[in-house]
Subunit: 456 residues, 2 copies
Amino acid sequence: MTTATPNPRPLHLNAFLWDVGHHEAAWRLPDADPAAVWDVEHFKNLARIAERGKLDSLFLADSPVLQTDPGRRPPGKIEPTVLLTALAGATEHIGLIATASTSYNEPFNLARRFASLDIVSGGRAGWNIVTTAGADAARNFGLDDVPLHKERYERADEFVEVATKLWDSWADDATVGDKENGIHTLADKVRKIDHRGRFFRVDGPLNSPRTPQGWPLLVQAGSSEDGKAFAARWAEAVFTAQQTLEEAQAFYTDLKARTAALGRDPETIKILPGIVPVIGDTEAEARELEERLERLINPEYARLQLAKTLRVHPDALVLDEQLPADLPTEDEIEGAKSRYTLVVELARRERLTVRQLIARLGGGRGHRTFTGTPVQVADAIEEWFDHGAADGFNIMPAVLPSGLEAFVDKVVPILQERGRFRTDYEGSTLRDRYGLPRPANQFDLPRGDAVRGVSA
Amino acid sequence: MTTATPNPRPLHLNAFLWDVGHHEAAWRLPDADPAAVWDVEHFKNLARIAERGKLDSLFLADSPVLQTDPGRRPPGKIEPTVLLTALAGATEHIGLIATASTSYNEPFNLARRFASLDIVSGGRAGWNIVTTAGADAARNFGLDDVPLHKERYERADEFVEVATKLWDSWADDATVGDKENGIHTLADKVRKIDHRGRFFRVDGPLNSPRTPQGWPLLVQAGSSEDGKAFAARWAEAVFTAQQTLEEAQAFYTDLKARTAALGRDPETIKILPGIVPVIGDTEAEARELEERLERLINPEYARLQLAKTLRVHPDALVLDEQLPADLPTEDEIEGAKSRYTLVVELARRERLTVRQLIARLGGGRGHRTFTGTPVQVADAIEEWFDHGAADGFNIMPAVLPSGLEAFVDKVVPILQERGRFRTDYEGSTLRDRYGLPRPANQFDLPRGDAVRGVSA
């Protein structure tokens, strides 16, 4: 255990909300409301709990497709920019991070929607930028199959470039409201962007002023080679699935170095591995909850899902045997590359049977599950934080709201007592939470200068 | 004035919110906050005023482009689905109608966002379906010019067809939440739509259950030939700009007949002409407010805007002369066709100079301005309502919030005393407000049957 020496380096905690819990069987617990995934009051309650714990932000994952077997767990989701707007009205301080796809949106529409969320929330918007894996999603948008991984990231890169230009298309002091002379906003401080690129042609300007944060916080969550290159260029916070301290350290070191290599201060990219805390007042209680959830997994749904992730026929997966030897390599995967490798390596390293692997994935879908007492969870957080593996954590409670309540009411106070975590909010924006600056407006700068990442 | 005989036919009133008022110079009044257009609290206040008056709904117009000279009036807007989600949390009963474009969105994304708004608001979502005029908007989406009017409407038609299929892709009783057997939602009650059309290929299903209203209320606001054909097929409420009783009667009769000709009950399409009430406790007071606003119009901005609407060079418009004789015909206009004709006919009919026309348009941009006392406004509403011109009105206060307050606190009580308008809300959904049924789920019906408008 780490000592309580005050540490000036701030720890960041994000609450990743997912229906009634990250564990796929959470909805089967006696207290769970299976319809809560469609109940905005359920999410308002979660948001208020997280804010009570002074957490940095809330996060909602997303994909524009029905992602799961409808029988297995609550399928589908309320669209995140809509849900987070509703949560903005139920909270005052906590950041609001919505996932949205660069493959299946137009930059003008999405840049505008995030600008609107930033305005409505008083500067609390974040965008988790995803390229969206899977042919099923592609087939909701006129395509026969998902675009190539590399192509998706190239589009994402240009998409974010266009979005930042749009967010900067109004000077910060464009609106003067000069009633006497009848000049609401200065026309020469609202500029077209005239973007002409490989994927997009967008004239602009945005029909929205520069927002409280300038840009929403840019978040990224893919850990493939393409994903890491993208993160190094654009991301200010990164969610990542890491199973062991060593892997997390390697990822952390690599991504900070890649970021520095592009001329960015590595302090401006915050790395938050996921953790699925299963908390009990005693170890036995925690273990009991974990086992109870495992017993509620329907192994047949899970086996089909695993076969899809691994791109094998379901018959190749036998519940009480290990994974087959002849799996595809990551290079052959056009979907969620890094998650694929993580699952295969986890199974191989711990020699798990398919049944055991399913139990491990049922909680966090590849994220690290940590089962223990509040002190043990706090220790686990400090260990990674102090050993070059994390700037904070993406908290993924197995069961909601109870798992978030346990984290906020039992783990957070320990971290606060140890001088590790804020006891109150300072500042007002999501960027303030993460200690990140408001981006300078690129149109206030000499052209061609200081626009991060915009290639020469 | 009509007598107070109770009339069982319900009158519908929608509050059309537009920054600090529909009059382009409203922001220059001493009490106006020029930045209110970006202030969610301003809109929450307006929403609560409208709900206090038991109005049916709120409505936000929109276009994905900077629509006005930035100097002239507050340019741009908060994106309507975001803003109305915020207003859903500040109100309980009033309907929430957002404008969104079929030309510059994907059906999956937009159908989902309206489903989410309907869920979050407890069944209060409406969609004002627009095809978006103007080359400037097209150039924010990779196009060089706006698609042809007819082509835009053909796309809109297929877009709405896809959206309704997605909204109906879950049976109403799909989710069973069977904890014991581990079946959350019945897989055979969630169906792909496999849409293959001229504009769209969408597999579905939606990643959202059927919503409280089934479909959001479908609203339409274009009065061109293509627009009326579209409205007759799909619209449940229609906003329209009509200057005289005779024109409004002709439009009303025509659209009801077109609707009936498609086999729909004409009672299921509600027609709401716009009215810009300028209200004073005396006629003189009302007239004074109107003149005060007219004096604050910057004629130069307005002349440039009018030239754009009329597709003429600004030099062709001389402030103290009438419109030039050689204007384009409606057929040559690829933009907002019916608005073009309305403006030209208004100017010709009343022999207005450019300056006078600008004053008339400054308040309602083509909608009817009515200046008078609360009793006169109530009379004007009853006259059109009783003479086959309207099922209700789209209320467009020249100044906000004061104009909405005057309408709600002074005109609404008169309409209530006369037995013309509800004194409390009944039911809970926007469809309840307009007395419209929840659509049957087309996937519960024999295939090919009863899907309104889906062509054989």
